[in-house]
Symmetry: C2
Subunit: 262 residues, 2 copies
C-alpha cells in the first residue's frame, strides 16, 4: 500500500510543509510532459485527489487517460491569471501558492496547496484562470485536461460526485477564510493558520506538531490579510506565551488547545 509518509522515510527533512523530494528524486524528475511511471493506480496522493472507491476498470481508465505530469521549479508558475483554462492539476509533490493581482499592483495570496490537493478549478468559470499558481518549492503536478475530467464525470458517478465535492469544498474553505479575514485578530489568524496547516499535514501522514513553512512571512501575511511585520510579531507573541516554538520557518506547536482557544 502506498501512502504519502513512505516518501519521507529517508528524507533529509521530515518536517517540510509538503512532500520533500526524496533522495531518489531523480526518478521523479519528470520531463514535461512524461508518460510512464505516473499511473494513478500507483500514485501516493490518489486518495486525496481522486474518489476513494474506484473499481479496477475505472482505475485502468484513469491510468489510460490521465497520464502526463509536469515539474515546476520553485518560483515558476504553473499557470497565470488570464491563461486559457484547459486543465486542472493535482499536486503530486511540493507545494504551491495561488495569487490574485489587483490592477494597481496589490496582490493577495488566496491559498496554499499541498501534495494531493487540486489546483485550477477557478478556471472553469470563464474558461480563463483567475489567479496565478506559483510553486513554493520544486514541485510536480499531474495534468488533468478538464474535457477528459468531464468525460469521466459523465461515465463514472463517483467521479462526478468527487468533482462536485472538491469544488464545494473549495467554496467552504474560502468562506472559512473570509470568516478569518473578516472577524479575527491578527493573533487569531496566525493561530488558525498554523492549526489548519497542521491538520492538513497530519492527514498526509506527517507530524501535526512539527513542520517547516515553505512560504515567507510576507506570503503568509498576504494570505492572512496583514503585513509581514505583524506576522512576525504574532509568532513572537505565540512563542512568548509558550504556544509554539519558532526558529524561522521551522515550527513546533507546543500547546494545541491553547492555540485553538486564542
Amino acid at each position: 500500500m502506498f501512502n504519502a509518509a513512505q516518501y519521507l522515510d529517508d528524507s533529509v527533512d521530515d518536517t517540510t510543509l509538503a512532500l520533500a523530494p526524496p533522495p531518489s528524486a531523480a526518478s521523479f524528475a519528470l520531463s514535461v510532459p512524461k508518460r510512464s511511471g505516473n499511473a494513478c493506480s500507483n500514485c501516493p496522493v490518489r486518495a486525496t485527489c481522486m474518489p476513494e472507491t474506484l473499481t479496477p476498470s475505472e482505475l485502468a481508465r484513469l491510468d489510460s487517460t490521465i497520464c502526463s505530469t509536469r515539474t515546476v521549479r520553485r518560483g515558476e508558475s504553473l499557470y497565470r491569471a488570464n491563461d486559457t483554462f484547459q486543465s486542472v492539476y493535482a499536486v503530486r509533490l511540493g507545494s504551491f501558492k495561488t495569487v490574485v493581482m489587483h490592477r494597481d499592483g496589490r496582490e493577495q495570496v488566496t491559498g496554499f496547496n499541498l501534495a494531493g490537493e487540486m489546483l485550477g478549478l477557478d478556471g472553469v468559470h470563464t474558461d480563463r484562470h483567475s489567479c496565478d499558481a506559483i510553486a513554493l518549492e520544486d514541485s510536480s503536478v499531474c495534468i488533468i485536461p478538464f474535457s477528459v475530467l468531464e468525460g469521466l464525470c459523465h461515465d463514472m458517478k463517483s467521479m462526478q460526485q468527487h468533482v462536485h465535492r472538491m469544488m464545494s469544498g473549495e467554496i467552504v474553505r474560502e468562506s472559512g477564510l473570509m470568516m478569518l479575514l473578516g472577524t479575527m485578530t491578527a493573533e487569531q489568524r496566525v493561530a488558525a493558520f498554523l492549526l489548519n496547516l497542521s491538520q492538513r499535514l497530519k492527514t498526509r501522514g506527517y507530524s501535526a506538531a512539527e513542520f517547516n513553512l515553505r512560504m515567507t512571512r510576507e506570503e503568509m501575511g498576504s494570505y492572512l490579510g496583514m503585513k509581514l511585520e505583524t506576522v512576525s510579531r504574532m509568532f513572537s507573541k505565540l512563542h512568548k506565551d509558550e504556544l509554539v516554538e519558532t526558529h524561522g520557518k521551522q515550527i513546533r506547536i507546543v500547546d494545541f488547545e491553547g492555540l485553538a482557544l486564542i
Copy 2:
C-alpha cells in the same frame, strides 16, 4: 419573452435590491411546496440560473422534474448550517444573506443572493450545509433536489457545464472577496461593494445607479469585515466627496468612475 424587468413595470418600488413582489404578488405567494405555475420554461430568472442553450425537450424535462418552490419570510431561514444537504435553490424573488457562525458566537455574512442566483452549493462538500441562508425580505425560491440535478448533469452536457461554471464562479467570487478583505481599506471595500451590487442589478434589468439596500449596515459591515459605525462613516465620506448620495438604505451612485478609482 419573459425577462426580469417586466416584473417591475408597475412595482411599488423599482429600486429595491432585488425583485420586489409586484402588486400581483398573490399569484406568486406559493404554498410550500407548490407545483403549478412554476415551470422553468416560464421563469423570469431562468436565464441566470440555468444554461442558456436548452432544447425544447430539455426544457420540458426541467419543467417535469424541478417543480416545487418555497416562500421564505423576511428573517426566516431557508436552511441552517449543519442541516443535511438535499437541494440547491434558485432565488426566484427577493434576496438572501448567507451567514457562517463561529463557535464563540461571532458571525460573518459570507454573501448576498439576488433573484436568479443559486444558493446552497456549499452543502455538496460534506452533505451538510456550512452556513445559514436567511431571507432579507419576503422571498421565494425554486427547490432543486441535488440528486435530480446530478441526473440532469449526466444526461445534459450543457447542464453539467453550467453546474461546474456556477460552482467555479462561486470560487472566483469568494477569492475576489478575500482580496477585498485582505488588501482594501474600509472606504475601498464599501465602494467595491456598491459597484458590485450595481453591476448585478444592472444585469437583471434594474438601474445601475439607484437602488435600495435590503441589508442593514451591520450586515454590510459583517460582509465587508468592519463595524457598522465604520460602514456608516464611509457612506458619509462618499456622500461628502459627491460620489454617492445616501438616504438610509436608498442609494444613488453619482460618480461611477470616481467610485472605481478610490
